[in-house]
């Protein structure tokens, strides 16, 4: 999504003796023409509403959609003769057999044995030992307990399947991604090209990958792995490439002047100096992979996503809850382990790392214990197959009961809030956007794009809107756009309040930041579960889930932006006797404008990427179209069209906010840089 904004020509200080720069024309605030456009729009809407809205009933399809379905069918029919499909199918076969091989090693019966090669005890022991080896005994305990919880709660196989998919994908991502990271870290030209591709990958809401991936790789584990690779690749390439690029030029120059070769520079200077950042990239990639691996349940991918999805489909919160919790457990485990491993590596590299001999003894004892456990798990059936407990089921029932009680008791409160947002924000906006004739909305949106983003934004907007119109889902697109905008407005309200608060109060920051980090670690799927329980399947549920998903990132961006305002400026302001309110509104927020725009941009895209997931819980519109397209083969074309429409909306919103950011003179390199390394989960800690 990030078209690299052209490197900002830093305003050069005027050389002594030169002409003073021409005074800038004071620009009229962009909100005034914007309000004018909206006013005109409302007037036109009043007289024309309900005509030419291009509304399409829920399950109706157009010829275009059927043609897309035909193309899909033709491609599927030609699977055996089409060379591209043959190639992708052979890759799919390879992935599948690799997955099945690992599965036979640790989870499923490996014929002729009735149980896997290594039973559950061996698996837990190996995992614990890995935790001990790369991190510390604390992590080993965390890993051990996590693995045990997978089995005790009754999702042993699903959990391990998810881990295998995640692990395979991360391994492949590293093999593909590190060379790319080096390339974009060392060659500005390659950086530009690769960044465009990464942008595209990252603008696309997760679900849109799934459609073409299914077409070329079939459903099941291979589609899960391939889509996970696509999703998890950008963070590693971007962050690692960024780390390599940011290595101090003085150091490069100094070591170059010692006469080093390209490889010596890479191996001895650039990679070691970027190591910390590279590991952050790896951490982000792992979490992204986990989140996609669970979502891959939509394409029949194996793992914990399946029970969650099944629970959501029948609105059974309790059934979705337990696997949802396990996904969170797994995310926390992976996050802590990679973080602790990198900290440990850092310490060892600095000659620390505690008592070396003691550690060797512990590792040796651990290795022996692990081998014994593996042996036992191959010998005794009870140590090979995880025993069945009923805790998971009882937990699910308990959750259902609690949820019923909560809904009965607090239903009124949530209802009031829901009605307020629905009646005062959602309905009016949706009416304006979707009930205007399509050409009126078209012109109005373009005019707003021009006001906020200038010519560049206008051109992209025209292209995207025309595309949306072409795919015959205009009315649905407008409804989705409404929900996205409303959710983003609410996200930004949260971001401003909490972001400014965090920036001004260190203790509050320290308290809330771990929560935000946790929020960003959890795969989006999981958010739906509690929200669905509270608000039932409606548009509003989808919006709340999107807000919960998008808010942490936006809050952090605003907090960091406000915090980055130079203390000298704030001090200077205070010395003039400003009030706190004046300080926030006249100094901190204006100076953090770049971050605010970036937070809006990210908020929009995060929210939009929840569209399809929202479709599961009553969001309707494009999200429903995609879900419906997945479930009915004759509606494939409509689902594909909806997917493309979501992408077009995303590109349009991205371009407008990005262009709006570029029109600002005052944003420093900070926000721009953030644009360029856009992280799907969270900025490096």
């Amino acid at each position: 999504m990030t078209t690299t904004a052209p490197a900002p020509a830093a305003p050069k200080p005027v050389e002594p003796g030169a002409e003073p720069p021409p005074p800038e024309r004071t620009r009229v605030s962009r909100w005034i023409p914007a309000a004018g456009v909206v006013a005109v729009w409302i007037v036109v809407w009043y007289f024309t509403k309900g005509t030419n809205t291009l509304a399409l009933p829920g399950v109706a399809r157009t010829d275009l959609h059927d043609e897309l379905t035909e193309i899909n069918n033709a491609l599927l029919a030609g699977r055996d003769t089409n060379p591209v499909m043959q190639f992708t199918n052979s890759i799919a076969d390879m992935l599948r057999s690799a997955f099945e091989w690992v599965q036979r090693m640790i989870v499923v019966p490996s014929p002729p044995r009735p149980v896997p090669e290594i039973g559950w005890l061996g698996v837990v022991a190996i995992a614990t030992y890995i935790g001990l080896m790369i991190a510390s005994w604390r992590i080993a305990v965390l890993v051990c307990l996590s693995f045990l919880s997978f089995g005790v709660l009754g999702f042993w196989q699903d959990s391990l399947d998810t881990l295998i998919v995640t692990g395979m994908s991360v391994a492949i991502v590293v093999v593909i991604g590190m060379p790319l990271a080096v390339l974009i870290g060392t060659s500005p030209r390659a950086n530009k090209v690769v960044t465009v591709v990464l942008d595209l990958l990252q603008t696309m809401p997760t679900f849109v990958y799934l459609l073409p991936v299914v077409l070329f790789f079939g459903i099941g584990v291979s589609a899960a792995v391939v889509s996970t690779i696509f999703y998890a690749l950008p963070p590693l390439v971007r962050i690692a490439g960024f780390g390599i690029r940011e290595v101090s030029t003085t150091t490069i120059e100094a070591t170059d002047s010692a006469g080093q070769t390209y490889w010596q520079r890479l191996r001895k200077v650039q990679l070691p100096m970027a190591r910390k950042t590279i590991i952050v990239g790896l951490n982000q990639t792992t979490l992204a992979a986990l989140s996609m691996a669970t979502l891959a349940a939509f394409v029949n991918g194996p793992g914990l996503g399946k029970p969650v999805l099944a629970g959501l489909r029948i609105n059974d919160v309790g059934a979705a809850f337990v696997p949802g919790v396990l996904i969170v457990v797994m995310a926390v485990m992976l996050d802590r382990t990679t973080t602790a491993a990198s900290e440990r590596a850092e310490k060892v590299a600095r000659g620390g790392g505690g008592n070396v001999r003691m550690r060797r003894i512990v590792l040796a004892v651990g290795a022996v214990a692990t081998l014994v456990a593996v042996y036992l798990s191959r010998t005794y059936l009870s140590l090979a197959e995880f025993p069945v407990y009923t805790i998971g089921d009882r937990l699910a029932d308990g959750v259902n009961e609690v949820m019923d009680w909560v809904t009965d008791t607090f239903g009124g409160v949530t209802e009031v809030f829901k009605d307020f947002v629905t009646n005062w924000l959602l309905n009016p906006m949706q009416s304006l956007l979707a009930e205007s004739p399509w050409y009126v909305s078209y012109v109005a949106i373009s005019a707003l794009a021009l006001v906020f983003g200038g010519m560049r934004a206008l051109v992209s907007t025209l292209v995207c809107l025309t595309g949306i119109w072409f795919f015959d889902l205009w009315h649905d697109a407008m409804i989705t756009l409404t929900m996205t905008l409303v959710a983003t407005v609410l996200v930004m309200v949260l971001a401003l309040v909490f972001g400014v608060w965090m920036a001004r109060d260190r203790r509050f920051d320290l308290g809330i930041r771990p929560l935000l980090d946790a929020g960003q670690t959890i795969p989006p799927f999981v958010y739906l579960i509690p929200v669905l329980a509270l608000f039932g399947p409606t548009r509003f549920t989808a919006i709340v889930a999107a807000i919960v998903y998008a808010a942490p990132a936006a809050i952090k961006l605003v907090a960091d932006g406000v915090k980055a305002v130079s203390p000298t400026t704030i001090e200077a302001g205070r010395s003039t006797g400003q009030t706190t309110w004046q300080e926030i509104t006249k100094v901190q927020l204006p100076m953090a404008r770049g971050s605010l725009v970036l937070a809006t941009n990210q908020g929009l895209l995060y929210v939009l990427s929840m569209t399809v997931i929202g479709g599961l819980v009553g969001a309707g519109a494009l999200g429903f179209d995609v879900v419906y397209g997945f479930s009915r083969s004759e509606a494939w074309g409509k689902g594909a069209a909806a997917g493309i429409t979501i992408v077009l909306l995303g590109v349009m919103l991205d371009r407008i906010t990005r262009a709006a950011a570029d029109m600002r003179r005052d944003d420093g390199p900070g926000p721009r840089r953030a644009f360029n390394i856009r992280l799907p989960i969270g900025p490096p800690r």
Partner: protein, 341 residues
């Protein structure tokens, strides 16, 4: 004796199609005019000079004068636009990648303003880096490096990491790294600008000491005139990428080439820099010629006591030859004049 370093009409122009400008009338434009006309920026404009073996050659100018660019052109850390650089008879500007690498490994080392140390390596391995890229065995390079660490006064800090050292000590590491490869020439790019004044003075003395002990040829970039006068055998003053003046410290102070240089040196305590050469005069008729004698290279300040003690003017000798006389009044004029400023 052949020059250790010889630079001939060296140009560096930054920007698109910069190679098309030299030789055209555009090359005569001022820096600002060229920038507006073509968008290119002149870094170094037609610079030529020679450095003798063992000499300390100081390049001085304000920021933006092109001095840092110039020093990078010498080993092609930045590619020159045109002109030649000859190092010990070898043409650097036409050298191949591997020849150039060889030059950097064995003949020229550089010390940087912001040190450029590797934060993930201990002092000893930072110092040994140049030897490492050459392929010297670990044992050998560590032995050599610890020798150099001792030489620059960092004994005991071998196993520290750069971020555990003060700025002055970090620059000693930078210096040690440059010396470890036993190069014939050292390049210094404003090495002490980032240090505070007392540390800076120590480091300057360190360089003087090392120069006395090792006798390396040095090219030293600075924006600090006092530093230039203190260290330099000769000083080259740059402005907007072009040479304004090349001369010994006393020449630059006594005969500034233009108002720019004059402005620069106006604050210098002249009595500390000028030699008798610049204040002596021909004997007046009837003047007593039996005063004490001093060589012509004596610094004015050091001649003051003798001049006050003697009634007759001091006779100034160049070798055995009488070249002029100087009396108390001549010397006082220099000392008092600058107090009046």
């Amino acid at each position: 004796m052949t020059a250790a370093l010889s630079v001939d009409s060296l140009w560096k122009i930054f920007g698109p199609r910069s190679d098309k400008i030299i030789g055209t009338p555009d090359a005569e434009l001022s820096r600002a005019e060229l920038k507006t006309k073509t968008g290119n920026v002149v870094g170094v404009r037609d610079v030529s000079f020679d450095v003798a073996p063992g000499e300390v050659f100081v390049v001085m100018g304000l920021s933006g004068s092109g001095k840092s660019t110039l020093v990078r052109l010498l080993t092609r850390l930045i590619e020159p636009t045109s002109g030649t650089v000859t190092l010990n008879g070898m043409d650097i500007t036409s050298a191949s990648e591997s020849q150039l690498r060889d030059v950097r490994r064995t003949q020229v080392s550089m010390v940087f303003q912001h040190f450029g140390l590797l934060p993930h390596r201990q002092v000893i391995d930072n110092v040994a880096y140049g030897l490492e890229v050459r392929g010297v065995s670990k044992k050998e390079r560590r032995a050599k490096a610890s020798e150099i660490v001792d030489l620059v006064g960092l004994t005991g800090y071998e196993m520290s990491y750069p971020d555990q050292l003060s700025g002055g000590m970090q620059q000693r590491v930078g210096l040690a790294r440059a010396l470890a490869g036993d190069p014939e020439m050292l390049l210094f790019d404003e090495p002490f600008s980032a240090l505070d004044p007392l540390i800076r003075r120590d480091m300057q003395n360190e360089v003087i000491r090392l120069h006395r002990e090792l006798g390396k040829t040095m090219v030293f970039i600075t924006h600090d005139l006092a530093e230039a006068l203190k260290l330099g055998d000769r000083i080259m003053i740059l402005r907007d990428g072009a040479i304004v003046q090349i001369g010994t410290p006393d020449e630059v102070v006594a005969q500034p080439a233009d108002d720019y240089v004059k402005d620069f040196v106006s604050e210098v305590p002249k009595a500390h820099v000028l030699t008798l050469k610049w204040v002596m005069r021909d004997p007046r008729p009837g003047e007593s010629m039996d005063g004490p004698t001093l060589p012509v290279s004596t610094i004015v300040r050091h001649a003051a006591r003798a001049a006050i003690a003697s009634d007759a003017p001091i006779r100034v000798l160049d070798g055995d030859r009488l070249v002029g006389v100087v009396d108390e009044e001549d010397i006082m004029r220099v000392v008092v004049a600058e107090e009046a400023v």
